[in-house]
C-alpha cells in the first residue's frame, strides 16, 4: 500500500513547500515587523512539514529529500494552483492563506485516521503546529474585513484566489487505490464539501460573501499542469540546488 501513497504524499508536501516559499517572500518587507517574524516562522513551519513528508516518500522510494524538493521538473510537482501564484498584495496573501489553511485543516483532520501510520503520526504532530497558523490568519481576516480600504481589497483578493482554491480538491492520481486501503480516510469530494461549509461559515461571520466562480477545467495542478507563474518561481527556488545537485551542506 505504501507505494500507492506516493502521489498523495507529494501533493501534501508540494503544497506546503511551494506556499512556504511563496510566503517567505515577505521576509523583510511585510507590512510590519511582527509580520516579518510571523510570516517567516509560518513559512519555516510549512517547509518543515514538506521535508517530513518527503522523508516518508524517501523511505518508500529511496529518492533523496532535496532531490524531491528541488530536483524535479515543473510537470512533476503535484501542488494545487492556489499555492504557486505570486504573493500579490497583503490582502491576497491573507485571503490565500485563509483558503489554504482551512483546506489543509480539513485534510489533516481526516488524515490523522489514515491507515498509513507514518502519515497519521506526522499529521497528529503537524495539526498541533498548524493551530497557530489558523489563529494567525483568523486574526488577520477579522482585521481586514472590518472596514475602510482593507475590506474591498480583501473581497477582490478572495475572488481572485477562489478558482485556484478549488483546485486544492482535485482528485489525486491513484486516489481509488489509496482510498480503498484507508490511506486517505475520505474521498476528495467529501473533504471539499466539508471545506466549503467551513469557508462559508467563516466568511458569513464577517459579513463577507462566498465567491461563486467555478474552478478551471480541465483538471490542473494535481496532475502536473502548471500555471505560467510556476516556472519563474521554480527557477528561483531551485537555483542553488541546480548549481550543484547532490552537494551537502
Amino acid at each position: 500500500m505504501s507505494e500507492s501513497a506516493v502521489p498523495l504524499l507529494l501533493s501534501l508536501a508540494d503544497d506546503e513547500l511551494v506556499l512556504g516559499y511563496r510566503d517567505s517572500e515577505w521576509t523583510g518587507i511585510a507590512p510590519m515587523l511582527e509580520e516579518d517574524v510571523a510570516t517567516s516562522s509560518i513559512s519555516q513551519d510549512e517547509i518543515g512539514h514538506a521535508k517530513a513528508l518527503y522523508e516518508i516518500v524517501r523511505e518508500i522510494t529511496g529518492a533523496g529529500v532535496d532531490d524531491l524538493a528541488y530536483g524535479r521538473e515543473p510537470r512533476e510537482y503535484r501542488c494545487c494552483w492556489l499555492v504557486e501564484r505570486p504573493r500579490h498584495d497583503w490582502a491576497f496573501t491573507i485571503a490565500r492563506r485563509f483558503l489554504y489553511e482551512t483546506a489543509d485543516d480539513v485534510r489533516t483532520e481526516a488524515l490523522v485516521a489514515s491507515s498509513f501510520e507514518p502519515l497519521a503520526g506526522l499529521m497528529r504532530k503537524v495539526r498541533r503546529e498548524e493551530k497557530y497558523h489558523l489563529m494567525h490568519v483568523s486574526a488577520w481576516l477579522d482585521r481586514l474585513s472590518e472596514s475602510g480600504e482593507a475590506r474591498p481589497r480583501l473581497e477582490s483578493a478572495l475572488a481572485l484566489a477562489w478558482p485556484d482554491a478549488l483546485t486544492f480538491w482535485e482528485e489525486i492520481e491513484g486516489e481509488d487505490e489509496f482510498l480503498a486501503g484507508g490511506c486517505l480516510p475520505a474521498p476528495s469530494p467529501e473533504l471539499r464539501r466539508r471545506w466549503l461549509e467551513r469557508v462559508e461559515r467563516e466568511l458569513a461571520a464577517r459579513g463577507l460573501d462566498m465567491p461563486r466562480a467555478a474552478g478551471p477545467e480541465p483538471p490542473t495542478g494535481r496532475g502536473g499542469a502548471r500555471t505560467g507563474d510556476f516556472e519563474p518561481f521554480w527557477l528561483e527556488m531551485t537555483e542553488t540546488y541546480r548549481l550543484e545537485p547532490g552537494a551537502t551542506w
Binding site: 517567516s40 519555516q44 512539514h49 517530513a52 503520526g121 506526522l122 503537524v126 497557530y132
Partner: protein
Amino acid sequence: MAVSATESEVWEALREVEDPEIPGLSVVDLGIVDRVRVDEGEIEVDITPTFTGCPAVEMMRREIELELSRLAERVRVRVTFERAWTSDRITKAGREHLRRSGLTPPPREGSIELQVRAKCPYCGSHDTRIENAFGPTLCRSIHYCNACHQPFEAFKPV
C-alpha cells in the same frame, strides 16, 4: 571502546548534548529523546523534534551520534513522529532552566492557545501582554512585561 554500554550510561551521555537554540538545556530535559535501546554494542536512539520544521534537529541528531560513538561501535539515531513531542515532555529541570534563561515555560497540559498573560520570567508578574505569537525560533512567542518593563519570550505550548 566500551564493549557494551548500559542504558543508563547512554542516558547519562545524552545529558551532555544541548539544544543549540537554548544553551545549557540538554536534549534529555527538552524531552526530545523518545527511546533508547542498547543491544550487543549497538545503540539505537529515537528522537522527536519539538516543532517539525526545527532546523536544529539534524544538528542535535549528529551531536548525539558523535557523543554516543564513545560508548558503542554502532550508533543509530532516528528522527520519528510515532509519539509526537508535546511541551509537557520538558522536564521539571528543563522548565527551571528555561525560566532562568528568560523564557517562560509552557503551561502544563494546557490546550494549544496563546499565552496572552504569560508569567514574566524576571519578576513573576502576570501583568504582561503578547507582542507576537511567532518569535525568533519556531517554538517561541514574544511578550512584554508591564510591571518590570522587560521584553521576554515564552516557550509555546504545542
